[in-house]
């Protein structure tokens, strides 16, 4: 399962929507309920699922799901090395 597929599983669970589908270009405006307040639930769920911890700079510069996936891949590479 690639990162985007795994992210889809996390998104469906956090936003309680089994039909939700996100891609690298998806943004907060494409997902119902993804606002600045629910964002923290999403970040926590992602960090738990991938066993990583984003740094502040990453957290403040994510613009879309693609940015999230790239940061996850970077952290999992470092953890795996």
């Amino acid at each position: 399962m690639n990162v985007i597929d795994e992210l889809n599983t996390v998104f469906r669970s956090v936003f309680d929507n089994e039909t939700l589908e996100v891609g690298p270009l998806s943004t907060a405006s494409d997902v119902e309920g993804w606002d600045s307040l629910s964002h923290v639930n999403l970040i926590m769920a992602i960090e738990t699922r991938f066993k990583i911890r984003f740094n502040t700079k990453e957290l403040l510069t994510f613009k879309n799901v693609g940015d999230l996936a790239a940061a996850i891949e970077k952290h999992t590479r470092v953890n795996g090395a």
Binding site: S36, L37, T56
Partner: protein, 472 residues
């Protein structure tokens, strides 16, 4: 000099024309920078010195951040830049408390823009600006200098780099916005201010109906005053070919408090969201909703303190922090309730939500407007005492407009123009009507503009005082 002053409005067309005739852009940029700086120096020499200190330091630190690679030195430079800007802001505020002459108008607006520029360069979300002339203009462009909108570097700097001739369509829409802003400020806000100032200046002389009316009026006065300023600022900028960010989007039609803050003073609330709330939220993320609630309480306390170091502003900020924190936990319950009532967008449910939100906001404005915390508590506890719905009570409730037999006429004029403004607002928020107006003939636009100018001259209150947000 204010944006509604005759001197500013008369200076706008020749300044815009001079700029347009000096294109290509490097000459018009220079002219604009020099004229804005001359204006600042003329307004207040302290403002001028303060502005240059902040500008040069921020410009230099921006270069340093950009030149240094990822690491502690880069972060340290950012912290120094943010700290120095905050000290400049606190110094200006405290200086004003010590000595009236030290007041540095607009300081919080350009300091906020300077801080956001440094953070954006640090986060690499905006490129560093290497042209001091363009950077200084970004901070000191006069229409937004006194009370915003708080522009982000990523939005305004690219426009300033390619400053070009203003198009007739831009100039025309700018002129219309200036008229609309003047109407809201002088006809609505100015007239309501007379009532609000009378009641809130002597709260212990009133109870019940006049306190309720004054509180509703203040909500409308504040909106018309501040959004009127923003319209003039955006309109004046269009005369120079620049598009500033919108600051209001029908805030009193918001169906929840979080939505209200997405529609009220948008550039300030999004600044707080991006540069204060998000970092705090992420620091507290292990506590999930409780972390969000704590971050919201802290952010809105800062928001209150930004308006002034007074108990009234702090309590106002805390009230909104509490509203937002509670909405963290109440949202799922409310959603279930709306579903049970037939859906949150069903119009009776929507109207109910808008009315509840509006009244929560009005309650908070009591603390924002009152002269002291004692006055605020008096108003909050006497809104419903001594209510009488008879002719004599209603007649005496109109009196605070002028305290003489012209009060009824003032009340009537205010009422008529409130209905007119509300109707225009509602129609302009409907896309079909908006399109109709945009496609209407030029003659109709000119006719409505001339009528509005006549109304401003006949019914405007030009002596009603400064724009409220200029003091912040």
């Amino acid at each position: 000099m204010e944006l509604s002053s005759l001197a500013f409005l008369l200076a706008l067309p020749p300044a815009s024309l001079a700029c347009a005739s000096l294109a290509p852009h490097h000459r018009s940029t220079l002219l604009l920078v020099l004229s804005q700086l001359a204006l600042l120096a003329f307004l207040n020499p302290t403002v001028f010195v303060w502005f240059w200190a902040v500008t040069l330091l921020t410009f230099w630190l921006g270069q340093r951040i950009d030149a240094s690679s990822e690491g502690p030195a880069r972060t340290r430079t950012l912290f120094i830049g943010v700290a120095v800007n905050l000290l400049a802001l606190i110094g200006a505020r405290c200086g004003h408390l010590w000595h009236e002459g030290l007041m540095t108008i607009g300081v919080s607006y350009y300091v906020f823009q300077a801080i956001s520029y440094l953070i954006d360069v640090y986060l690499e979300t905006t490129p560093v600006e290497r042209n001091l002339k363009v950077f200084a203009l970004h901070l000191c462009f006069f229409p937004k200098f006194l009370q915003g909108p708080i522009e982000r570097a990523g939005r305004l700097l690219p426009q300033l780099r390619v400053l070009d001739c203003v198009t007739p369509a831009q100039a025309w829409s700018g002129a219309q916005l200036i008229l609309w802003g003047l109407f809201k400020k002088t006809v609505i806000a100015g007239r309501l201010a007379a009532y609000v100032d009378q009641v809130y200046g002597n709260v212990h002389n009133y109870s019940g109906l006049p306190l309720c009316i004054a509180t509703y009026f203040y909500a409308i006065q504040l909106y018309c005053d501040f959004s009127g300023y923003t319209d003039i600022a955006i309109g004046a900028s269009r005369l120079f070919g620049l598009e500033l960010s919108p600051n209001f989007r029908d805030p009193y039609l918001a169906p929840s408090i979080p939505e209200f803050w997405r529609r009220w003073h948008i550039t300030f609330s999004s600044w707080l969201l991006d540069y204060l709330f998000k970092p705090l939220q992420m620091q507290f993320r292990a506590w999930l909703h409780w972390g969000n609630a704590l971050a919201l309480l802290l952010v809105f306390t800062v928001c209150g303190a930004w308006h002034g170091f007074a108990a009234t502003f702090l309590v106002w900020g805390l009230i909104h922090g509490l509203y937002m924190a509670v909405s963290q936990f109440s949202t799922p319950v409310c959603r279930r309730l709306y579903r049970w009532l037939g859906g949150e967008n069903r119009w009776p449910v929507w109207i109910g939500r808008v009315l509840v939100t509006f009244h929560l906001v009005c309650f908070s404005w009591i603390f924002f407007r009152a002269a002291s915390i004692e006055d605020a508590f008096y108003v909050a506890t006497h809104l419903f005492s001594g209510w009488q719905l008879n002719g004599a009570a209603l007649a005496s409730a109109i009196l605070p407009f002028t305290n003489d037999n012209t009060a009824a006429a003032h009340g009537l004029v205010a009422g008529v123009f409130l209905v007119v403004t509300g109707t225009i607002h509602l129609l302009s928020s409907l896309p079909a009507w908006r399109k109709r107006w945009d496609q209407a003939s030029r003659m109709l636009h000119i006719g409505v503009g001339a009528m509005m100018l006549t109304i401003i001259l006949l019914f405007g209150r030009f002596w009603s005082g400064s724009f409220i947000y200029m003091q912040f």
